[in-house]
């Protein structure tokens, strides 16, 4: 228990409250982190975890409550203050400057300076290389951050936080975009820091990670503190029920569905630099999982099929008819729905109302005499929002005020409203809490049962294995294995996913 540690907590928050306008994001947040420990912070979407983090970081100022660092009362007015006090934070959303070099991103504002306060670039690059070496990654310190994959971006964030040499390190869902190998590396670094006596806070929706890495866990619900336990003294089920305040139904409620005709056929799809000669098919009622490491090119394949991205060669057919390339609209007309991986940037217009978002794709059919009114949209959107149990007070609320899980429901409502033949869904539950996750899974299962063909991309192996009828494994832009539900074991998938890099990983493990 943190309270029993000899020197007292490095970071302590008690009954901290924070509201935005009339939205109460944090009612009474409490956490106490002792030096030399890794403290998990868990809770459903919108529980207030990130808000708590941002208060510690000085992004927001708390409205009330106690905030102590190493036993002293503090009150940060900006992130510069918290940095100066020895707090490093990895935020949930990446905070990189795309135009600047990777190194500058790490050292911005505290670059090593030489004579005349001139930035010492050589020293800076050397330091960056040293950091990357410590993390076991190879990134050119001079390359710009633009174009880095999400995983690489997250690595830069981690390097940035570590380089601060802080006594308190907070990581808000750092693993959301990382693959197994990278997660392991991160954990090794985290443990190293813990052993140096630093206090770490780790936020994640993945319980396996929490139980593997952390020693203490604090649960939050609805802006309130719920409980703090030693990891050893608790269990996943216990934490989950505290988080949601109820029992969660089965996480992967896969029901067998009748598999029908081929709906989607992809033949020899290639795009220079991203994927090659990709061929597969999806049948009605079937859930096909696309597994692989992050950066394998799964999203790119999906995007090309839907027509958002171009491809250089190959063909896509839906129900036997060719789907024109590079036209999402044609794909929609053909009966394809696509739930993209980045909800806020691609899935939703977050500043538009729920009604407009839900009706976004079907609005063409809502006009009468060419006129489209809010009323038409509301009438059409209402039932779909209801069917997915979107939680909102009114249809004109903007999606930006909603939690991630709710936003995902809006995206699903928008696409289901098109009554598609094929649903492509990329990372259906990324950043979504357990409760909603089960709901989404049940929904997918139901939809498949109704004869919808589903292509599901997921970086969470349990999700793929639990939900898919058939698993395609992508490695470096190629499909390296096709496994039936029975054959799809974690080992088989991982083996195929690392087909070409297995050698390197083995070496790494022994090194």
């Amino acid at each position: 228990m943190p309270g029993t540690a000899p020197e007292g907590p490095a970071l302590e928050l008690r009954d901290v409250a924070k509201s935005f306008g009339s939205v109460v994001a944090l009612r009474s947040g409490s956490i106490a982190v002792t030096p030399g420990s890794i403290h998990a912070l868990v809770g459903e979407n919108g529980a207030g975890k990130s808000t708590l983090v941002k208060i510690v970081a000085g992004v927001h100022r708390r409205d009330s409550g106690v905030f102590r660092l190493h036993g002293e009362d503090v009150d940060f007015g900006s992130t510069a203050d918290s940095k100066a006090a020895g707090v490093a934070v990895i935020y949930q959303e990446p905070t990189l400057f795309p135009d600047l070099s990777v190194t500058e991103n790490i050292f911005m504002g505290r670059q090593p300076v030489g004579r005349g306060r001139r930035i010492d670039r050589a020293a800076m690059y050397a330091e960056a290389e040293r950091l990357f070496q410590g993390l076991g990654v190879h990134i050119d310190p001079r390359r710009p951050a633009r174009g880095l994959s999400i995983a690489d971006q997250q690595i830069i964030e981690i390097a940035k936080a570590i380089s601060l040499d802080a006594s308190v390190l907070i990581m808000d869902e750092p693993t959301a975009a990382l693959s197994g190998v990278e997660v392991e590396r991160l954990f090794a670094v985290a443990r190293g820091l813990r052993d140096q006596g630093r206090a770490l806070v780790f936020i994640s929706h993945r319980f396996d990670e929490v139980f593997e890495l952390c020693d203490t866990v604090t649960v939050m619900r609805d802006g309130d503190y719920v409980s703090t336990d030693a990891i050893a003294a608790t269990s996943v089920d216990e934490i989950v029920s505290r988080m949601v305040g109820r029992e969660v139904a089965e996480l992967f409620p896969k029901t067998p569905a009748e598999i029908g005709d081929v709906v989607l056929e992809v033949e020899g799809l290639s795009s220079l630099g991203t994927f090659h000669d990709v061929s597969f098919s999806v049948r009605a009622g079937e859930i096909v999982g696309l597994a692989g490491l992050v950066g394998a090119g799964r999203s790119e394949i999906a995007r090309a099929v839907f027509g958002v991205d171009r491809y250089d060669a190959g063909a896509v057919r839906l129900a036997g008819k060719p789907v024109p390339a590079r036209s999402p609209r044609a794909a929609i007309r053909a009966g394809i729905a696509f739930v993209p991986e980045d909800r806020r940037k691609q899935g939703l217009v977050t500043d538009a109302s729920v009604a407009r978002n839900v009706a976004a794709v079907i609005r063409r059919g809502l006009t009468h005499a060419g006129v489209l009114t809010n009323r038409d949209e509301n009438r059409a959107a209402g039932p779909w929002a209801a069917r997915l149990e979107v939680k909102t007070s009114a249809l004109d609320m903007t999606a930006s005020t909603m939690s991630g899980g709710n936003q995902q429901k809006v995206v699903l409502a928008k696409w289901l409203a098109t009554e598609p033949k094929l649903l492509i869904i990329d990372e259906p539950t990324r950043g979504i809490d357990v409760g909603t996750k089960a709901e989404v899974h049940r929904l997918l299962s139901d939809l498949a049962g109704q004869g919808l063909a589903i292509l599901m991309i997921s970086s969470e192996l349990p999700e793929v294995l639990g939900m898919a009828d058939r698993v395609l494994v992508v490695c470096e832009g190629r499909i390296t294995a096709e496994l039936s539900r029975e054959d799809a074991t974690p080992e088989a998938v991982m083996h195929a996913a690392t087909a070409t890099t297995a050698h390197a990983i083995e070496e790494e493990a022994t090194a």
Partner: protein, 374 residues
Amino acid sequence: MSTATVDRPDARATRTYPAYSRPLWRRVLLTREFAVIALLAIVYFYSNANVPAFDGPLTLYYLFLDIAPILLIALPMTLVIITGEIDLSVASVMGLSSALIGVLADAGWSIPTAALVAIVVGALCGAFNGFLVAYVGLPSLAVTIGTLALYRGIAQGLLGTKAITEFPEKWTDLAKDRIFGDGSSYPTILIPFVVLLVLFVWMLHFSTFGRGVFEIGLNDEAAHFSGVDVERTKFLLFVMAGAVSAFAGLYFTLRFGSARGDNANGLELQVIAAVLLGGVSIFGGRGALHGVVAGVVLIGVISSAMRLQGETVNKINIVIGVLLVLSVISTTLLGWAQGFLSRRRRSSTPISGSSSEDGQRRQAAAATESTNER
């Protein structure tokens, strides 16, 4: 959070949602657009009572004649700005269209054919802008600074020192005619304007195309992902801006009976100032045509009233500039005031369980939270 009740609703219990989170009067009255309209009304009635000769029969007539080009171009410009782009070349297209009509009329063409050619050329100018912005993906601010110079240069190159002033009286009179006979305050140019206004209101506010326009401004990637043809939409808007500007150039030429390469020089900033004053966000995604029309008329009324007061252009410029600055910072000021009020209220009442009735304030807060992004 208000909606975070955790108990699961009964299986498939269909819930219904209210359409709006706040009452009609708040949705109508508490908007930027309404603020501009209210200000317009205040200025108008104040001037009517206090400015000599403002209540005369000619004021409105001249006012409409003067602001007609801005009114016209503001329509497509609103849509362009809502998509997050900008078109600085509109005044140059006006100049080019004016020069072209002059040259063609001089060569003996009839006005309608010359006008048709000018409008087609205007549309082509817009298409060139649109192609570079939408399909090549260049920033519109940079592209249209370039075409601002290019089109103006062509206009001046076409006419040189000449100013062509020989236009059939029939047509120059038409530009200044009044709709309801002598003495009425409404010039005929209002007819095409109203037609275009109806068209653009339908396009922006009551069509699927307009929904796409707003979505592109808020998040063009998401719009692209849900099947909005981002490129084509932007392209079409620039074409419209070009064509309408050319039409405004035609009106300008006929009203003054003079085709010159430097006609309407600098008008682009006036159009943009009026559109922004009307509540359109320069970041895109927000705005409405009734606000824009009120913004244009407001500038016209202020200029007219101040001129009648004997003020010259310098003071008018200052007032318009101050108004523009105030109009954008007012949103922030309002947000501060709201935040201050709600803080006071909260400190006086204990933190209560959240309720949904203040949804509209949350939205207002979200709206004011416009970041510094361009």
